[in-house]
Amino acid sequence: MDGQQVRIWESRCIEESPPACAAACPVHVDARGLAELLAKGDFKAAQALFCRFIPFPNIIGHLCDHPCESVCRRAEAGEAIRIHALERAVVSSSLAASPFRRGRATERKRVAVVGAGLSGLTAAADLIVKGHEVAVFESGLQLFARLRGDPRLPSAAIDADLARFDNTGIVFHCGERPDITALAKEFDAVYLGLGAQAVPDLAVLVDLTPDGRIAVDALTYASRHPKIFAGGSHRYGSTPHTYSPITSLQDGRCAALSIDRLLQGASLTANREGQGSQSTRLHVNLARHAPSAAIVPADPDNGYTPAEAQAEATRCFPCHCRECVRSCPYLEHYGGYPKRYIREIYNNETIVMGARKANRMIDSCMLCGLCAEVCPEKLSMGDVCLSAREGMVGKGKMPVSHHDFALRDLAYSRSDAFTLTRHQPGFKQSAVVFYPGCQLAASSPEQVERVYAHLCATIDDGVGLMLGCCGAPAHWAGRADLFAETHAEFSAAWQSLGRPLVLTACSSCYRMIADHLPEVPVESLWPVLARGKLPGEATAAQNSRMALAIHDPCTTRHEPAIQDAVRHLLDRCGTKTTELDGPQLTSCCGFGGLAQFANREIADKALDRRIGQSNSDYLTYCAMCRDNFARRDKRAVHVLDLLFPDGDDPAARPDPGFSRRQENRGRLKRSLLRELWNEAMEEPTDAIRLVISPQVQADLERKLILTDDLRQVLRHAERTGQRLLNGKTGRFVASHRPLRITYWVEYAIDADSGCYVIHGAYSHRMDVEAAS
């Protein structure tokens, strides 16, 4: 993976952006976290969280001017969360706040703070926590003198907050007007929180604003004097109406950060982009939330009761994006969101020592593109996972086992057992070539024959036929080498037919050719059929009372021409249809990205969620989707079942399963050669006749064991005589390791018929042999 590309992907996921409330709060109180705790009724944890951000929780809890509420996204669905009232309920539940803990600065310095208001004492508190020595000078007789008269604020609240300074070593000098010039000499730094008055006599030390207040840098709160910082209402010039407790607190905090950096010799300006009130990129899907009004306290003077606060907190969404996570069972499964996954995936590739824990996660994505569709930033986890697969496979670090079965199936489809390239019988050229793909051939070879006959009858100048695999499994497995090989084979076959237009019946084939073989003209079969005459036997569906719900294969997500053509065809058949989420928001059947091989559990979750969307029978135009629905007992038809009907209830057609899929491909080739090209083709007969119950067959499918694998084991046992006998059951147990995998079969031989009755099979990849 390219590190720069990874950073771009990462930066596009905005889930870690703060919610609007926390971004707007000058000191970024996590109001979302607070509401989540309160919604659970955990006031204690809520108070601890509040104290992490606010040095004087009782004062702010009573007085905050709450700029957060004016941006709360809840306001767009009802009324804003009363965040400040929640904070008040938190501090009302318990006044006691834990004492400040003096930190251990590498070099403890001495700082003077002049003015014991919110800005000055916040600066003092932060500097103590950073480990410095602080002396506070206040001309009045009391700390927080300005706040003491406020009727909203009980004096016990102030005292409880000040108790946080107990045992911190801070020194308070009340009733003193110190000489600032002297302080600047004696102390390592000075913070001035002098209140809104003008200070003309400080002109000798610092620059003044036109109205006589200390001029400070907007980011660092530094004055012209290298040791002197100033802020609070002195900076922003409050009147009783514009006094903002939370702004004063922020000033003290930012100045303390500058002072600490000054004392450490660090840059005053670096990395302060997030300082102060901000907007946010976090996306919230408001459509998910019904409007609701704020809870009104029964006793407005005393604010929310705990129960009222809990009810109000429950109204917080809380703000998150996670649109993709909600849409995709794969993303949901791992408990995080793309920004985090991308980091894990990148680390997984770059890690030098230790387990690569994300391997299976990388191989479990269906590469279906739904996430990008719902993401406000159009981030595609499919692109991320595919790139990671290619990177890991390229390094030889991706477990072969995840895709081994699918790639052996691909090898079968590339073999002489299936591949075929011919002009139409009686023609020396092809105007078009029909490319049914390996999965339609596997699912219903008869339909391939019918479609081919129909195309031959309706298209002049020759319809060639190509059987093979488009290489999608190689691409999805990150096997660039194998993908290139299949392309070369495809290209050679196509050129041998004179480079005709390729008609695909499978949307994955269409995708692979359209996206990766720019020189090959390709069209989907459906628009071609939609433009022509309907096959004579086309029908509305066996059960025309019920509308069919259309499931578009995920590989057609951005192909409106194909989607429309299918709907047009259905219309012409007189089929009643209904939509699920529409083609753009379609989801994967689990085959995409080979997810069903690397992670059956997740793929089936995705499939089952899709199935759960409607009770109607589904209609699709991908053989793999159709068969996957059938495998999970969902009634589903392929559009070809309507265009070329055969039998009474195609929606009940079972999933053929992997063994039958391979057999069907071989059978299709032989049948075509026999019927159309008059070649003598014998159906193979096998001396080993198997009897497999449906339960055992289903178990074999789950374990990805083909009947052909069983035959190999049995033949091996016959040849070598090597097998175990279970004295109790009379059954044999035999094994064989053709390559990489050891297969075990438990079987009995039926005395009358000579058939092999299969009782079970399993496999492992580890090789075992008796130690000598």
Binding site: R356, P399, G727, F732, V733, H764, D767, V768
Partner: protein, 68 residues
């Protein structure tokens, strides 16, 4: 453990007509190998891996080695 004790009493090597006994077996995967005790035929050395082992412990070890 006594490696000569018969195990899996129901299972006999069909070729040698002998019950399997626990014995040293070399297991290897992806370039790692180690010794374990598994039932094997004392005559021809045929090693038996049960389904429970193949889909349990052995699968876990395979996956751990794959992700190394």
């Amino acid at each position: 453990m006594n490696t000569n004790a018969p195990v899996e009493t129901e299972l006999l090597c069909a070729a040698c007509r002998q019950p399997l006994v626990l014995g040293k077996v070399k297991a290897s995967y992806l370039g790692s190998s180690f010794e374990v005790d598994l039932p094997r035929c004392p005559g021809c050395g045929f090693v038996y891996v049960s389904e429970a082992l193949a889909q349990g412990k052995m699968l876990q070890v395979e996956q751990a080695l794959e992700d190394k």
